[in-house]
Amino acid sequence: MARDTTRRRVLAAATAALPLALAGCRGIAALGSPPKPAADVTVASDAIAVERQLIARYGAVLAAVPGLAPTLRPLLAQHHAHLALLRRRLIVPHGGQPLPAPRVTAGGRAPAPGTPGAALGYLRDAEDAAAAALLAHLAAAPPSLAQLLASISASEATHALILGTAARQR
């Protein structure tokens, strides 16, 4: 009985080692190149990067000009909603690879303007740029993601409208 168990263990170990042994025969090429991320993964992760950059800019402006909070908080909350829904579009396989690095150009490093009028204009321009960046992915996205991107882009266009109006009232 004990000998039987041992033999089964040996067999199991040999079977488990078989693919590795075969792969070893063909060298590293047997492992293949990692699969390219699907178009929707690329689109969603780029859109997530756009939203994260906007949220960072709102944070910088709120730190520099706290008096703008009543105007900015509702808009910032909507960006967090955008980010949450976009993240749900990304299905990361269990124990899978980390996401590809977002392909977003730097440029969010400029310090936020310190006066209310300039800060509102800065965020209005950032919203316009984000709205355009999301639409650049429209053709590559699967239908329901394209609709989500168009809706978020439209939301950001309305943010720019509200920010522009607030800037003119100062």
Binding site: Q78, A81, L138, A139, P143, S144, S151, S155, T158, I162
Partner: protein, 157 residues
């Protein structure tokens, strides 16, 4: 559904929303004054133009554009300026939803057209509302016709 039929269905949806907007702005404008009346009139004209453009796009695809109803059921009674502004907001929200239907198509030109029109509707809705939505045009009901066919449809249910 074939790609061509999907395009026609989405364009018909947008046309129906434009038809109900033309009707609704007629009602809303009657209860508004000053700058808001002027805005309602501007939007009314814009929706007539959009309706004509969609009619042309459907005709170019050999489809019969869905006819406008004589009257549309309003989502709530409109007897004053406050309700008129709310009605204009709802009309634009519904248009935004209808144009997102075009964004769901495979045709990249119609996607881009739908996205532009959805953006325009969202901007008008935000101007009426005085605030913004996180997801304009998503999860909104279609316009309901007030005419007899709607009643017949519900009786058949």
């Amino acid at each position: 559904m074939s790609a061509a039929r999907a395009e026609i269905a989405a364009l018909q949806g947008a046309l129906a929303a434009e038809d109900s907007a033309v009707y609704g702005y007629g009602v809303a404008g009657a209860h508004l004054t000053g700058a808001r009346r002027a805005a309602a009139l501007r939007n009314w004209v814009a929706h007539e133009n959009a309706r004509d453009a969609l009619t042309g796009m459907l005709a170019a695809r050999g489809a019969q554009p869905v006819a406008a109803a004589a009257a549309y059921q309003l989502p709530f009674p409109v007897h004053g300026a406050g309700a008129a502004v709310s009605l204009a907001t709802v009309l634009e929200d519904r248009l935004c939803a209808a144009y997102l239907g075009l964004v769901g198509l495979a045709n990249p030109a119609l996607r881009a057209f739908g996205a532009r029109a959805a953006r325009t509707a969202a901007l008008r809705a935000a101007a009426w509302r005085g605030s913004t939505l996180a997801f304009p045009g998503l999860n909104l009901p279609a316009p309901v016709r007030a005419a007899a066919p709607a009643a017949a449809g519900s009786a058949a249910r």
